[in-house]
C-alpha cells in the first residue's frame, strides 16, 4: 500500500490539487487574483515535490511503471505547467472560469503522467484519451470567440479520429501477439505483414498527436484559434509527453521491428522538417508561425529518435527540456503583447524594441534558441539531436537536415528583423508585464542562456535515462 502512494506520487499530487481547486471553486471564497497566486504556489510545490521521495518500481502487474526516466520526464512536464501558469497570468486573471481551466489542464497532465508511466496498451490508450479530451476544452476557452470554438471542434474531431486509428492498431497488435504488456510484446513480436500493418496504424496515431507531416493539418488552425495558453500547452507539454512515450515505445516495444520503423522515421522527419519550414516561411500570425515552426522542431526530434540508441533518447529529452523554455518564452512574449494590444501579427511587431527592449530580447533569445544558434541552449539541443541521428544515418540525410537549419533561421530572423530593424510610425507602446509573467520570462531567458553551457544538465538526464 505504501508503495502505491510513493510510486504514483506525482499523479496523486495532481489529483489533490484538482480537488482543492474544485472545492474552492464551489465555495467561491476567493477572488481571481488570490486564486491564481494559490494555484501558482501549488504548482510550484508540485514541481519541487517531483524531485523528492522518488522510487522506481511497478504497480498492478506491470501496468503502471515508474523508472528514473519517467520521473525525470514528469518533472519536465511539471516545469512546463508551472511556467505556463506564470507566463499567462494576465489572461488567467481576467478569465471568469480560471479555476476550471486549471482543472482541465491538470487532468490532461495527469493523463500525460499515466501515459509516460504506462506499462501496457490498455493504460496507454486510457491515458492518451485523458491527455487529449481536456485539451480540446482548453482550446475552446476563449468562449466568446467563434474561431476558438471552431478550433476546439477541429481538435476533438481529429483526435477522436486518431484515437480510432490507434485503437485499431492496438487491436491488430493484440491479434498478432496475444498480449498487451509492453514487457512481453518485444519477445512475441516479429515483422510479419500483420504486425507491420498494426505498426502503421499505431504510428499514425502518434503522428497525429505530434503533428508530424502529413498528419499536421489540424495544427495551425487549432493553434491560431485557441487562447495562447492552450496553444503553448499543446505545443510544449502535450508534444513533450507524446514524444517521451513515443521514444520509449519505439526503443523498447518495437525494437524487433527496428528496420521497419527506422526508415519510416527518416521519411517522416524529412517531410516534417522540409514542409514545416516551407509553411512557416509565409505565416503572418505569430501563433500560426510558432505552430509551423514547432512542426519543424518535431522533425528535428525525429532525427534524434532515429538514432535508436541511448544517445538518441537522451538527446530527445534534453532537446524537449530546452524547447520547453524556448518555446514558452516565445509564447509568453506573444501573449503579453496580444493581451494588452490585441496584436498578433508579425507585422505589428515592427519597432517593438524601441518601447519594449525586455520583451524583444527575450523573444530574440527564444527564437535564436529555436533556430539553434549559440550560445543559446537550442544550439546544443539541435546539435546533439543531429549528432545522435548521424550515428546511423547517411551523409545525404544529415546534409539535408543541416541545410534546413538555414531555412528555419530565415523565418526566425523575420521576427527578429521586425522587432529590431524595421521602422514603424506607431510601434507597440510600452507593454506592462505582470510580475509572475516577468519572473517566468526571466527564468526562461536565463535557462536558454545557460543550460547548454552547463554540461551537468546533460549528465543528469543521462544518469536518469540509462
Amino acid at each position: 500500500m505504501n508503495e502505491f502512494f510513493i510510486l504514483m506520487k506525482s499523479e496523486l499530487l495532481l489529483g489533490i490539487i484538482i480537488f482543492i481547486l474544485l472545492f474552492i471553486k464551489i465555495g467561491k471564497g476567493l477572488s481571481n487574483e488570490k486564486m491564481l497566486v494559490l494555484i501558482q504556489s501549488l504548482l510550484l510545490v508540485n514541481f519541487l515535490a517531483g524531485f523528492f521521495f522518488n522510487q522506481t518500481g511497478h504497480l498492478f502487474g506491470g501496468m503502471f511503471v515508474s523508472t528514473s526516466a519517467t520521473i525525470l520526464q514528469k518533472n519536465i512536464l511539471n516545469l512546463g505547467v508551472y511556467l505556463i501558469s506564470m507566463l499567462f497570468s494576465d489572461w488567467f486573471r481576467k478569465h471568469i472560469h480560471m479555476p476550471e481551466y486549471f482543472i482541465l489542464m491538470l487532468s490532461a497532465v495527469m493523463g500525460m503522467f499515466f501515459l509516460v508511466s504506462s506499462g501496457n496498451l490498455l493504460l496507454f490508450f486510457l491515458a492518451i484519451e485523458l491527455a487529449t479530451i481536456p485539451v480540446a476544452a482548453m482550446v475552446n476557452f476563449d468562449m466568446q470567440k467563434r474561431i476558438s470554438s471552431e478550433a476546439g471542434m477541429k481538435m476533438i474531431l481529429s483526435s477522436a479520429f486518431s484515437s480510432g486509428i490507434l485503437l485499431f492498431g492496438i487491436s491488430l497488435i493484440y491479434g498478432a501477439t496475444g498480449t498487451i504488456q509492453f514487457a512481453e510484446l518485444p519477445l512475441l513480436m516479429k515483422a510479419s505483414p500483420l504486425m507491420i500493418m498494426a505498426f502503421i496504424f499505431f504510428i499514425t496515431a502518434f503522428a497525429f498527436k505530434l503533428s508530424i507531416v502529413p498528419f499536421h493539418l489540424w495544427t495551425a488552425d487549432v493553434y491560431e484559434g485557441g487562447p495562447i495558453a492552450s496553444t503553448a500547452f499543446l505545443s510544449v507539454v502535450s508534444k513533450g509527453a507524446v514524444a517521451f512515450i513515443f521514444i520509449s515505445m519505439l526503443y523498447k516495444v518495437f525494437q524487433p521491428m527496428h528496420e521497419v520503423w527506422y526508415h519510416t522515421i527518416i521519411l517522416l522527419s524529412l517531410c516534417t522538417i522540409i514542409l514545416g519550414n516551407i509553411f512557416a516561411l509565409r505565416q503572418q500570425n505569430i501563433k500560426r508561425f510558432l505552430a509551423f515552426s514547432s512542426i519543424a522542431q518535431v522533425g528535428f526530434i525525429l532525427v534524434g529518435i532515429g538514432a535508436n540508441s541511448g544517445a538518441g533518447s537522451i538527446s530527445v529529452v534534453y532537446f524537449i527540456l530546452i524547447y520547453t523554455f524556448s518555446n514558452l518564452a516565445a509564447f509568453g512574449v506573444a501573449a503579453a503583447i496580444s493581451e494588452q494590444t490585441g496584436k498578433e501579427n508579425i507585422q505589428d511587431y515592427r519597432g517593438l524594441y524601441k518601447e519594449n527592449p525586455f520583451l524583444s530580447w527575450i523573444m530574440a533569445l527564444a527564437l535564436f534558441s529555436l533556430a539553434g544558434i549559440p550560445p543559446t541552449a537550442g544550439f546544443f539541443g539541435k546539435l546533439f539531436l543531429i549528432s545522435a541521428g548521424a550515428t546511423v544515418a547517411d551523409y545525404w540525410y544529415i546534409v539535408v537536415v543541416a541545410l534546413n537549419l538555414i531555412v528555419s533561421l530565415y523565418y526566425y530572423l523575420r521576427v527578429v528583423r521586425a522587432m529590431f530593424m524595421d521602422k514603424n510610425e506607431f510601434p507597440i507602446q510600452k507593454v506592462q508585464v505582470a510580475f509572475p509573467a516577468k519572473f517566468a520570462l526571466i527564468v526562461c531567458g536565463v535557462a536558454i542562456t545557460v543550460i547548454g553551457l552547463l554540461s551537468w544538465v546533460w549528465d543528469y538526464i543521462q544518469t536518469a535515462l540509462i
Partner: protein
C-alpha cells in the same frame, strides 16, 4: 599563460556592459577591456616566443584540456601555435581600433558595444580552440552580432545585406557541421579533438567526401568564389566598426578554419582538391580586382578588394607548400589590419562628407591632412608597396607558389600576380579622385581626425609598418606552425609524386 583569459575577459566585459546605465561608461569600459585584451595578446606573443626560443617544440603551447560533455567526447581543449598567436594579435588590434572609431555611435550605444564584445569573444575562442565542437560553437556565436550590427546600425540596403550574410554564413556553418560530424564518426576513437584526429588515420575515400564539406563551409566565411557574394553587401552596409570586424576578423575565421581543420586534418582530401581551390581562388583574386574597378562607392571598393585579397589566402593554402601556407597566414594578418584601417578611414571620411561616392569628393588633402595621409598609407599597403604589410604577405604567397614548377601552378600564380596591376589602378584612382585635385564645394570647413580616430589609425598603421618593415618576427612566428601542417601533408605529397 592561461588562454581562458582571452575568453573570460570579453565575457565578463559583456556582462558588465549590460549593467551599465550610461553610454559614456559603456564606451570607457569597452575600451579598457579592449586595451586589456591587446595587452593579453602581447603577453601571449612574448611568452610564446620566449618558450619557443627556449626550445619548447611542442606543437601547441599553453594547452588546457577540460572535459565538457564526456559522453560526446567533447573537451574544452585550448592551445595555440604560431598561427593562432598571429591571429589573436590581429584580433586584439582590430578590436581596440573598432572600439575607438565607434566612439560617436549614439543609437543604442550599449547594445552596439555589447555585440562588438560578443563578436570578439567568438573570434578569440575560435582561434584558441583545439576541439572541433568548441571551434564550431565559437564560429557560430558571431552570427547574431553580425546580423544585428548590420541590420540595426547599418546603412543602405541593410536588412537585405544582414539577411544575406546571416543565411549564407549559416549555410557555411551547416556544411562545417556535417564535416565535423563526418570527422567525429570517421574513426573509432570518436573524437572532436583536433590534435588527436591529426594522429589518427582517416581513409582517403572518406577524406575526399569530408574535405569539400569543410573547405566550402569555411570557404563561405573566407569569401571563397563563388560563395563570396555576401562579402560586398555585408561589408558595404555594415557600420564602420562592423565592417572592420567583419573583414578584419570574421573572414579570417574562414581562412583559419580552411587551414587548421580542412587542410591539416584531411591532407589527402586537400591534395585531391588543391587544383580546384587554386582555380577558384585565382578567379576570386582576378574577379575581385576587376569588380573593384567598376565600383564608385568607397565601401564597395574595399569590400570587393577584400574578395580579391582574401583570394590570396585560399590560393596560398591551395598551393600546399610551407612558404605559401605561411604566406597565406601572413596575408590574413596583413589584410585584417589593412582592411580594418581602410574601413576606419572610409568611416571617418563618410562621417564628415556624408557621402561615400568617389565622384562627389575631391581635394580632401587640403582640409583633413591626417585622415588623407592614413588613406594614402592604407591604399599603398593594399596595392602592395614594399615596406608595408601587403607586399610582404603577397610576396610570400607568390614565392611559395613559385616552388611548384609545373605549368598549371605557374599560370595560376601569374594570373594572381597580374591582379596587383589592377589593384594599383583602382586604388590610385580612388585616392586620386577623393583626396587630390580641387576641393569640392561645401567641404571647406571639414575637421580633421579627433583623438579617438587618430589613436585607432595610429595603432593600425603601426601594425602595418611593423609587418612591412620587419616581417621576420611574423614569419618566425608562423613558419614553424606552417611546417607542422606541411609535415602532415608532405608524406602524402611524396606518395603522389
Amino acid at each position: 599563460m592561461n588562454l581562458s583569459l582571452l575568453i573570460l575577459l570579453p565575457a565578463i566585459t559583456a556582462i558588465i556592459l549590460l549593467l551599465l546605465p550610461k553610454p559614456s561608461q559603456v564606451r570607457i569600459v569597452s575600451l579598457i577591456s579592449a586595451v586589456l585584451q591587446l595587452g593579453l595578446a602581447f603577453f601571449l606573443f612574448f611568452s610564446f616566443t620566449r618558450l619557443r626560443a627556449a626550445g619548447d617544440n611542442a606543437k601547441m603551447l599553453f594547452e588546457q584540456n577540460y572535459a565538457w560533455f564526456p559522453s560526446w567526447h567533447i573537451n574544452f581543449h585550448t592551445g595555440v601555435d604560431g598561427i593562432s598567436v598571429a591571429m589573436i594579435l590581429l584580433t586584439s588590434f582590430v578590436v581596440v581600433a573598432g572600439m575607438l572609431v565607434s566612439w560617436n555611435i549614439t543609437k543604442m550605444t550599449k547594445e552596439f558595444y555589447f555585440l562588438l564584445v560578443l563578436l570578439s569573444l567568438g573570434a578569440y575562442g575560435f582561434f584558441i580552440s583545439l576541439d572541433l565542437f568548441i571551434l564550431f560553437f565559437f564560429l557560430e556565436i558571431a552570427v547574431i552580432p553580425k546580423y544585428l550590427l548590420i541590420g540595426v546600425w547599418g546603412s543602405g540596403r541593410k536588412e537585405y545585406a544582414a539577411n544575406k550574410l546571416a543565411l549564407m554564413l549559416m549555410g557555411g556553418s551547416a556544411l562545417v557541421l556535417v564535416g565535423i560530424l563526418g570527422l567525429y564518426f570517421a574513426t573509432d576513437a570518436r573524437s572532436f579533438d583536433i590534435m588527436e584526429l591529426a594522429t589518427l588515420s582517416i581513409t582517403p575515400a572518406l577524406q575526399k567526401v569530408i574535405f569539400p564539406l569543410l573547405f566550402i563551409g569555411f570557404g563561405v566565411f573566407a569569401g571563397l568564389f563563388p560563395f563570396h557574394t555576401w562579402v560586398p553587401d555585408g561589408h558595404a552596409s555594415a557600420p564602420t566598426a562592423g565592417s572592420m570586424f567583419l573583414a578584419g576578423i570574421s573572414m579570417k575565421l574562414g581562412g583559419y578554419g580552411c587551414l587548421r581543420v580542412a587542410t591539416f586534418l584531411l591532407p589527402e582530401g586537400a591534395r585531391e582538391y588543391a587544383n580546384i581551390i587554386i582555380v577558384l581562388s585565382a578567379i576570386a583574386v582576378l574577379y575581385g580586382a576587376f569588380a573593384t574597378m567598376m565600383q564608385k562607392d568607397l565601401k564597395y571598393i574595399n569590400a570587393y578588394s577584400s574578395v580579391s585579397h582574401c583570394g590570396f589566402v585560399l590560393l596560398g593554402i591551395g598551393m600546399l607548400t610551407k612558404t605559401a601556407i605561411a604566406g597565406a597566414v601572413m596575408q590574413m594578418v596583413s589584410h585584417g589590419v589593412m582592411t580594418a584601417l581602410f574601413f576606419a578611414v572610409i568611416g571617418m571620411i563618410y562621417e564628415r562628407t556624408h557621402t561615400r561616392q568617389v565622384d562627389e569628393m575631391g581635394g580632401l588633402l587640403k582640409v583633413t591632412p591626417f585622415i588623407t595621409t592614413v588613406f594614402f598609407i592604407v591604399g599603398f599597403c593594399s596595392l602592395g608597396l614594399p615596406g608595408l604589410s601587403g607586399f610582404v604577405a603577397e610576396m610570400t604567397v607568390f614565392v611559395g607558389s613559385w616552388e611548384h614548377t609545373d605549368t598549371f601552378h605557374r599560370v595560376a600564380t601569374i594570373a594572381a600576380v597580374m591582379s596587383i596591376v589592377v589593384t594599383a589602378v583602382y586604388i590610385l584612382r580612388a585616392i586620386g579622385k577623393t583626396v587630390l585635385g580641387p576641393l569640392k564645394v561645401g567641404f571647406s570647413n571639414l575637421t580633421d581626425a579627433k583623438w579617438n580616430e587618430k589613436a585607432a589609425a595610429i595603432l593600425l598603421v603601426a601594425a602595418i609598418l611593423a609587418i612591412g618593415l620587419a616581417p621576420f618576427w611574423l614569419n618566425n612566428l608562423v613558419a614553424p606552425a606552417a611546417e607542422v601542417i606541411m609535415q602532415k601533408i608532405a608524406p602524402v605529397a611524396a606518395a603522389v609524386k
